[in-house]
Assembly symmetry: C2
Homo-oligomer: 461 residues x 2
């Protein structure tokens, strides 16, 4: 190494895997956002908790900022390293450490991909239920950093609900063993809960003990076509009343257009303005009858225009692809993304207002909506008109986001439902959190990271 500080790190942690290869700096220096130019000092790939502790202690002595790094599938710039930071990638710490059948817990290193967790649970006859499209690339550590949600929150809740314990390297290098898998533990502040969703700004999550559960009965999947927005929440209510919903995912005609252009099969002979993929606990005739009753009720009311049931696993996968393929199909267009939420009860008014806002502000833009309607969570993707320069495009979108943030503030919503604040949403944090809350958050940050070295500039300056 040509940097004396890095030489010092290597002397202190012999055998530490460290790279300054420009391709590595570019690869590890950013997440799925593309707005910042990666410029880390170096990338460390520790292989053990002790190495992470040594790196954090060194960083405090040398006053080097650290960017904890998982699968970097985030969309808020939470894992961007653009200011000479050391990227602390957990990707080599990706093993299952323990399984306890009595506690029904799986202890893993933070760098394990979500899909590997799913497989490890399945091999043991159990389920880790948090799931989303990035499952193959994202890591549990990153999921914890953003309290990741996804497609089955309606049934199983967010990542937070499934964390029985965390091992965290604190801002001074101490190792914290938070909650240690206990079900009941009323012994002071639950720092585990504080750590979840803190975007790497309070400590480095190195291990997690995950709760597992029984796999549900086989789910049935149905695709619904809707003639208008107005009926959407009524369709949700009709299905929720009759069935145990595992997913209720909404997307627009424009979203379907892109997924089909990307290779998916068209589900209906004609186009409809809106679609829903829903999955419900099936496996018996009563559930089938209830699903049909919900569908027929919505058809009679005119809230639904058409529908198709996934009769086999392959058919269900095809229906799911229409929803799960959206993000990938949009990626080449470099969309500007909003990820917002309101209470379900506030959805109708918020949807109407937002639809009007976007129609007015993005007249020439391709606006693609989709989201987890059952959680009050909406993803809005704006694609640049052909030929518009990046800077002009983002500038325009930022102005619209400001208006969206004002609408969210009026409706008691959140500017970030599941991706975190990171760099991208930092200017809008005050639409969701009050000045008093932000002041307390800063106080917590100072207590955990007095030298300001853990993912600085993310969440707030």
């Amino acid at each position: 190494m040509t940097d004396a500080r890095l030489d010092c790190l290597l002397a202190r942690v012999p055998g530490l895997r460290l790279t300054r290869d420009p391709a590595d700096l570019a690869h590890y220096g950013r997440d799925w956002t593309r707005r910042w130019t990666p410029a880390p000092l170096a990338v460390a790939l520790p292989g053990s908790v002790e190495e992470v502790q040594a790196i954090v202690r060194w960083a405090n002595e040398e006053r080097i900022a650290l960017v904890p790094s998982g699968g970097r599938t985030g969309l808020s710039g939470g894992a961007v390293a653009a200011n000479g930071e050391l990227v602390l990638s957990l990707e080599r710490m990706n093993r299952v450490l323990a399984f306890d059948p009595v506690d029904r817990t799986l202890t893993v290193q933070a760098g394990i991909p979500l899909q590997a967790v799913h497989e490890a649970a399945r091999e043991r006859g159990l389920l880790y239920p948090v799931d989303f499209a990035a499952r193959g690339s994202c890591t549990i550590g990153g999921n914890i950093a953003t309290n990741a949600g996804g497609i089955r929150v309606i049934r199983y809740g967010n990542t937070r609900e499934w964390i029985a314990g965390l091992a965290v390297v604190a801002g001074n290098g101490d190792l914290l063993e938070l909650n240690r898998g206990l079900i009941k533990n009323s012994s002071g502040y639950d720092l585990r809960q504080l750590m979840i969703g803190s975007e790497g700004t309070l400590g480095v999550v190195v291990e997690a003990t995950l709760r597992l559960t029984d796999p549900p009965p086989p789910g049935n999947t149905m695709l619904l076509a809707l003639p208008s927005f107005e009926g959407l929440m009524r369709v949700f209510a009709a299905f929720r009343e009759r069935l145990t919903l595992q997913a209720f995912e909404f997307f627009t005609d424009r979203a379907l257009h892109h997924v089909i252009a990307h290779g998916a099969a068209a589900p209906f002979g004609q186009a409809h303005p809106f679609y829903v993929v829903t999955e419900y606990a099936g496996g018996d005739e009563a559930a089938e009858a209830a699903a049909l009753a919900a569908f027929e009720h919505c058809l009679e009311q005119g809230w639904v225009g058409d529908g198709v049931i996934g009769r086999s696993e392959a058919q269900a996968a095809q229906l799911w692809r229409l929803r799960e393929g959206i993000t990938e199909s949009l990626a080449p267009h470099k969309p500007y993304k909003n990820d917002v939420s309101v209470r379900i009860s506030a959805m109708p008014a918020f949807l109407a207002e937002t639809q009007a806002l976007l129609a007015r502000e993005y007249p020439r833009f391709d606006v693609v909506w989709f989201g987890h309607i059952g959680d009050g969570n909406l993803h809005i993707n704006v694609l640049p008109p052909p030929g518009m320069a990046d800077g002009e495009f983002v500038g325009h979108c930022e102005r619209v986001t400001k208006l969206l943030a004002e609408a969210l503030s009026r409706h008691g919503g959140s500017i970030s439902a599941e991706h975190g604040i990171g760099l991208v949403k930092k200017p809008y944090l005050d639409s969701t959190r009050s000045p008093a809350e932000i002041a307390l958050m800063r106080g917590v940050k100072r207590a955990f990271d007095p030298n300001g070295l853990l993912n600085p500039g993310k969440l707030f300056d």
Copy 2:
């Protein structure tokens, strides 16, 4: 008032209900622990959020310590006011504020008793599932302060899982609206979660938005008699494997003795050393058959010696009374209480070690055990031998608790499963939380309460 500081408070909050009546000071100055002599400065009974804010601002100016107060059913001294504090009782703030059928949330003032929440949910066709014997006296605010658990954690989790939003008066009098009922909200540190279980040391919870759920199918209740400790966890495993358990509560022969002495009917013709009350989702023949299969399997293995099913609601209530009446039946004896937890998988080893420890250390004492075995939570109640002075008794018990804390530390357990640390467990906090964790907790406390006025001396000094 004869205290100038209180005159100042009354001048600032005209109409504030404030009392210095000695009977009130004694009544509001302590919880169900009886080890401290109440000595508050006065008791304030605010009627609105604005009054709570004004009191907190006044307390900062006058440097008066505040003790937030709910139903004072705690057993850790968390609500004791013995040092000239102002007791801030929320008991007049006990109303249901809002119900939203789409969000399925109930918004209440913090002083509402748990039982009134149950009733409000039931009237709306829904369930607030956190439950325990103190339901008639304890308040939601106190439940939140300790992240209360109780008898249905095995099915529904602790209080934490059911809090969609909190309104909290911060240490400086600011009103915080935390999470505002959102399902997905990844916008920085989840201060709502930090507040839950913080025992009134970080803010005053004034309102809560509670999630409700569908009532379960009618539960069936079964009482089991066990010949030995060794089979207990096996019986639990046999029932959990076959049924959806809603409760799995353990108690000893000595516990039954006290409940029967207190008026309950003896369930069996002969005595058995150990008992379990279990409740499982019933309502269909499959569940009945599964319950019988579990029972017969345990009988064949010799883990269970006898059993009785509650065939009617009245019979089920009788069986439940055997478990729920324990605390009340012991109260006149002024028991010394431990409330500890370990992971379920650590239960067999911990139980064996603890049984040996208590037999050795309390040879002359009546030791009554019960607990939520399915959550790894054990309550140990020690009754003083006749004629032993209070001080000698508590001193002896404290020495044993020190040994118990060492055992917990070895088994990765918690010195407080569900009652909080308060004053009683403060000397043993370090058996459950590391010095690094305690240092961070102190940092959080300073950020939220720089003048150290919120329930000082509880949790830590």
